[in-house]
Symmetry: C3
């Protein structure tokens, strides 16, 4: 499969393309497709590079400046993503990840898909002196890619946006994320192939969590999570109080306190599984595809507060649950890499545009569920939920 | 009143104007006026947008990149502002507001007018773990505006620079400052109308303090504060030691330790009040106009150190005194906003260019003072001054 | 000596040159020389200004955006510097120096020559509340120059790159580094003249350490430090365990734990001294020249870990050893400046390109050593090594 390819950023060669537009004139197989690269100016976004891919059916924005996150996606008129009170995409210079509170990451949080990791993700953790050992959700989302390119397959017209991002600190973790985001003409979504490479000559541990966030209009009163569930555990007592309704969503409620559920999903013999967010009427939905062998943990974060505060849910396949790093390490929920070793993660998002497509997606999930009855705990469980 | 208007930055529409010059050819009513927008390059200022307004009598620099602060002003040859040891205006990327000391804000401090807030202002405050709960003077001055525009009234030639700046952190405070800076052809100063909007669906509390800073040549040995004073309280014992001379200034003294006085001013029936900094000879002065109902607290910060260290005084109308946030909250000195609620602040600065103008300004203040005798405490007072 | 000169950045005059190339057409005396200025784009380097000087024999990159550090140098095919796991040069916006760990400086560490200071250098130090009092290696390397220029001497063709960088915090230290980097056509290296000026009207203390870093291919198994040694003290027990081999280097060893030695060197009557890093075969070397009266302390940092982790040694003349600031202050190892006072530092790097040049350099060192026998301690010494 031959492909044409365009370098957008190559730090080593000091190449950098400020603006680029590719159409099917540049790559005839990509019928009806457009790829544009631009740099945002002004506000908190000043200096953020955006690669917009439009495959005719679906368009989405890749953010090389924010660790190859996906800002938003659109399928026809339907916007997928959410409206954060943070007006992003935010340049990392405005995100104080290392702030002493450990919460600076929140200043940049507005993407449809933000990777949490790679040294750690989850709640911030402090050392004995009270200093941040692991800031909330880690550093990778606020690291800019040093190499970015686009290629388009000559035959299939498949568009691939590649980016490499490093999270390295001298004397500490040194890892590289090599990400490829793929989509074909007319595909109602995209697919991601990520590889995390341990640059170091010594072993390392990493965590990865795909924090995939949905808001209005897909989310709404009566929307629900559809997934092949083996186990559900509420993260804390507050989540436990709502566990009976864990898969369904309420409408906007100012002051709503977030509820989080930790899940083990069922999968096929190859580890493949999927989870769907379905709107109240079953007329549209989004399905995430991933592999339980790579991403064994699945978290559902419900934050159905008022719209201006960020009415949103996060569906989050990960190597771990978003507990503090030390606790997760104790449970063995980290990925261990040899020196120069690597690990890969596959993730895809597909949008269901009508009732038939939604039902087809539900059927796939029902097949994975089979006749297994989900085990839903009504209280936090040891080994799942960090104390306190 | 029809007006012409030019968008400089509109984050939502991805509009951004790198350079612009407007003259009375663009807006005939603004006789002799010029508005320019440029972006600074190099040093700590790299990437800072500046809107310079010159109305023929007065010119001043508005800083969209620094929360719509006013960098400096000039009336004829007279520079209003001060010479900070910080070589600004400083891009927020170089200001570590969240640094664990809580003092990173100082790295960007060089403006004539810097807003302190909006979650808090005043001395840094730490939580029980020793982590910064409220950094010195808050975050708003280091947030870039996402929307900036200039308009010029067709009839009066009044120039308005508008900017909107957000201070939002997911799960925490979410507020927006909508600022308008106005001036007319020939006006020896400018007027500000600020509105702080609570974006959230839930109630919020904010603080606002206009940290207005004057140095040489207006400040100097023998310069003084002229204001309609009800009460003066020294912030601490050190300030108490100089309270008899609170309204007058010494010349430069290397190693001078700052002294701060907390004041309640008198106002007219509508809350309007004003305070003046007058030079030693009564030949020039600057008056700040504001409303005591909006900004009930007035602080005088004396920092008459050597010129290269920053010989400066701050006259600071605020919702509160610049004590730690928790203490001020206990005294009720915060502004409470409903969900989606807002509060407005009016502030103006006028330069008096000669003895007659100075005397006219003093007469206004004398009228507000009437025959009320100021109450000057010779020690810190409970309810005014945070202990320790 | 007349010279032509070009301003690259002048913050005060709002001058900034984006791209510039100078050749001997611009300055005939600089035969075969080229000076280029460009701004890097993309990745962590986005916005970093680089001045590359090529004198025909040696080329090197000066980094105005990173406190006038020297990124790398090349003499013919030989690269001088090292390959850090950090992909730099890193823009200061991505270096959280004030992070609560005190270790954020490591995120930007990849230069051949990085100045550590000026308030402090060395290991991070925390106050009683656990907050960073002195972050690792200080702030100067992450401050951008506000004034940068190049001049070329009409007679000698000597190229001088000048830059001024400030490390100022209102109410705290206010100092300026005025740096000149010089080289002549055909010179196998460069010379630096630094002056640190106390901007303040009050006395101040500073520290300066030239963290000069060498990796492959100059460093390698069997490479060694050649220096006129009076005393060697291992920093801690781990360093003590390897003290017998202190001047020689091992090959790459994944997981190697760094070893540091503190040295007093011998010098001539004017304080001039020098230290060499020689490759295993004595075929090439790098010599640093400096003055013991200005820089009395010399540290050798051995970090012969695996190449991708940063196989490197630092040879570090300084006003002090890189112990925590308070400890060094107690030993008197700080430079004291009067108000408006200054101190100068001279530093040069010369590359030896063949055996004859290496031997000539060794001869100079042998002359300084004379018949003084080095005193090598086999354990950490009081007054040299901070406890703990």
């Amino acid at each position: 499969m031959a492909a044409k390819s365009w370098v957008l950023t190559d730090h080593s060669a000091n190449e950098y393309v400020t603006d680029l537009t590719l159409t099917d004139k540049d790559a005839p197989a990509a019928t009806g497709c457009t790829v544009t690269k631009r740099t945002l100016r002004g506000g908190l976004s000043d200096g953020v590079d955006v690669v917009r891919v439009d495959n005719g059916a679906c368009r989405f924005d890749v953010l090389p400046t924010r660790g190859m996150g996906i800002w938003r996606a659109w399928v026809g008129d339907l916007e997928i993503g959410w409206r954060s009170p943070v007006r992003g995409p935010v340049h990392p210079a405005h995100v104080p990840v290392g702030e002493s509170t450990g919460l600076g990451w929140l200043d940049g949080f507005d993407e449809l898909l933000v990777r949490c990791g790679l040294e750690s993700n989850g709640a911030p953790e402090f050392d004995e002196e009270g200093r941040v050992a692991y800031p909330l959700h880690g550093r990778i989302a606020n690291k800019p890619a040093h190499r970015v390119s686009v290629s388009i397959d000559d035959d299939t017209g498949e568009i691939a946006v590649r980016g490499s991002v490093e999270e390295t600190r001298f004397h500490f973790l040194k890892v590289r994320l090599d990400s490829v985001v793929r989509t074909k003409p007319g595909e109602p979504g995209f697919r991601i192939e990520d590889t995390v490479v341990n640059i170091s000559g010594s072993p390392a541990e990493i965590q990865m969590l795909y924090h995939c966030n949905f808001g209005l209009p897909l989310l709404g009163a009566g929307a629900q999570v559809v997934a092949p569930v083996k186990t559900v555990v509420p993260r804390n007592d507050h989540a436990a109080s709502g566990v009976k309704a864990w898969p369904t969503y309420s409408g906007e409620a100012a002051g709503y306190e977030e509820q989080v559920y930790f899940l083990e999903l069922l999968a096929d013999d190859n580890g493949r599984t999927q989870a769907m967010l379905k709107d109240a009427h079953g007329m549209k939905a989004a399905t995430m595809y991933f592999n339980k062998r790579q991403l064994p943990c699945f978290s559902v974060w419900k934050n159905t507060t008022s719209a201006p505060d960020g009415y949103v849910t996060g569906l989050e396949p990960g190597t771990n649950f978003p507990n503090p790093r030390t606790y997760e390490g104790e449970q063995g929920r980290v990925a261990k890499l040899d020196g120069a070793g690597s690990i890969s993660f596959d993730f895809a998002l597909k949008i269901h545009r009508n009732q038939a497509e939604v039902e087809a997606g539900e059927k796939e999930i029902a097949a994975l569920q089979g006749d297994v009855k989900p085990k839903v705990f009504d209280s936090p469980q040891e080994g799942w939920c960090a104390p306190g």
